[in-house]
Point group: C2
Chain length 220, copies 2
């Protein structure tokens, strides 16, 4: 009688909500992303996360132990999303100029689509990057871009198309700066200069301008 074999007709509104650990966990994680993104680590409220969830606050602590732990998992998830997508670019088989173009366009689109990622990185920097520094998972995942870019620059230089001695880290930083800033500072920049970053035409303009700027930088 202590087993759960009774009351099939008891709660009609609770259809299909049987125990489902993985789904609950993912559900919490998604809610946490939304909450951390719109308030930072300090600004996020555990109660608010629970409200965004189909489950209760208790479950947050059950699965993640603390607010900080939850934050770290969010961080790792969002950083991981980039790596997964940026692996499939095959930048080593195309013409150097085309490689630069594609890399800029890819980075642009990725940041544009992942506002969440950008916001969480902003927050990390406000926290002096303390959690990124802690997470070995994150630190070890970010060098694929650099080697790909290095290949492009080297081939470009060999073919006489690009300048000699360009460093991948420099080019990468400039690409990131453009794509990141356009998302990270859209609210203040938008308010100050009355620019609407959601306008598709402006977005296309920026995208092409960034490609152009980078190409002008690398060309011999």
């Amino acid at each position: 009688m202590t087993t759960m074999n009774e009351a099939p007709a008891a709660a009609p509104t609770r259809k299909g909500r049987k125990n489902n650990p993985e789904k609950t966990r993912e559900n919490i994680l998604q809610a946490a992303i939304a909450e951390f993104v719109s308030g930072g680590l300090a600004g996020a409220r555990v109660d608010a996360i629970a409200e965004r969830t189909q489950t209760s606050k208790r479950m947050i602590y059950y699965y993640f132990n603390s607010k900080e732990q939850l934050y770290i998992e969010v961080l790792e998830k969002l950083y991981g999303d980039i790596r997964n997508t940026e692996s499939n670019m095959h930048l080593d088989e195309i013409a150097p100029e085309e490689g630069i173009r594609r890399l800029v366009e890819f980075t642009f689109d990725h940041h544009d689509r992942n506002v969440d990622f950008v916001r969480i990185v902003c927050n990390e920097n406000i926290n002096h990057g303390q959690f990124v520094k802690q997470s070995a998972a994150i630190r070890s995942m970010n060098n694929t871009v650099l080697t790909a870019l290095d290949g492009i620059l080297r081939r470009g230089a060999e073919q006489g198309l690009f300048r000699q001695g360009l460093k991948a880290i420099d080019v990468h930083m400039m690409i990131s700066a453009f794509c990141f800033y356009r998302v990270s500072n859209r609210h203040t920049f938008g308010a100050l200069f009355e620019v609407d970053f959601d306008d598709p035409a402006l977005k296309a303009h920026h995208r092409e301008m960034f490609v152009d700027t980078l190409l002008r930088f690398v060309r011999a």
Copy 2:
């Protein structure tokens, strides 16, 4: 007898700490900057601000009424600092290329020296720019750069040195993106790619590279 004419020898350790409203206010404001900068609006603690102060927590509420009000004043102060310095550049009297160079260098140095400003802007964007949007003072102060830059671009185009049809807002955004990102993301970028942004040699390298990139962009 209710006037304050007694006890000149009472407290020897409290020398010179007579009532000084302006100084107290400024003292609180400086402490608030430090605290808001290293934790954002939500992360900052009023107690912590008081501790950084030569006065008490009570005075914070006495002068600023609330944590939010204090935050807004910090915001306005830091934004104001830029305007004041960037007015004295006289960019309309020099050669166009030199104008671009100076503007980039100025923006670079300013961001480099004012980490506080950069952090507060990051925080503002996490808050969807809600306080910047509220402050009429801030919104009305930011158009001097744009007109100066516009002048440079127009003269450059007239002299056949620069391309036609370049927009000041675009150039300004790219300059800002470089200079801002280098400061705002130094912790995460530094941790991920093992870059030390405090290295003076690297700093000089970035500065020159940004000038170069912008010049390559505007040139005909």
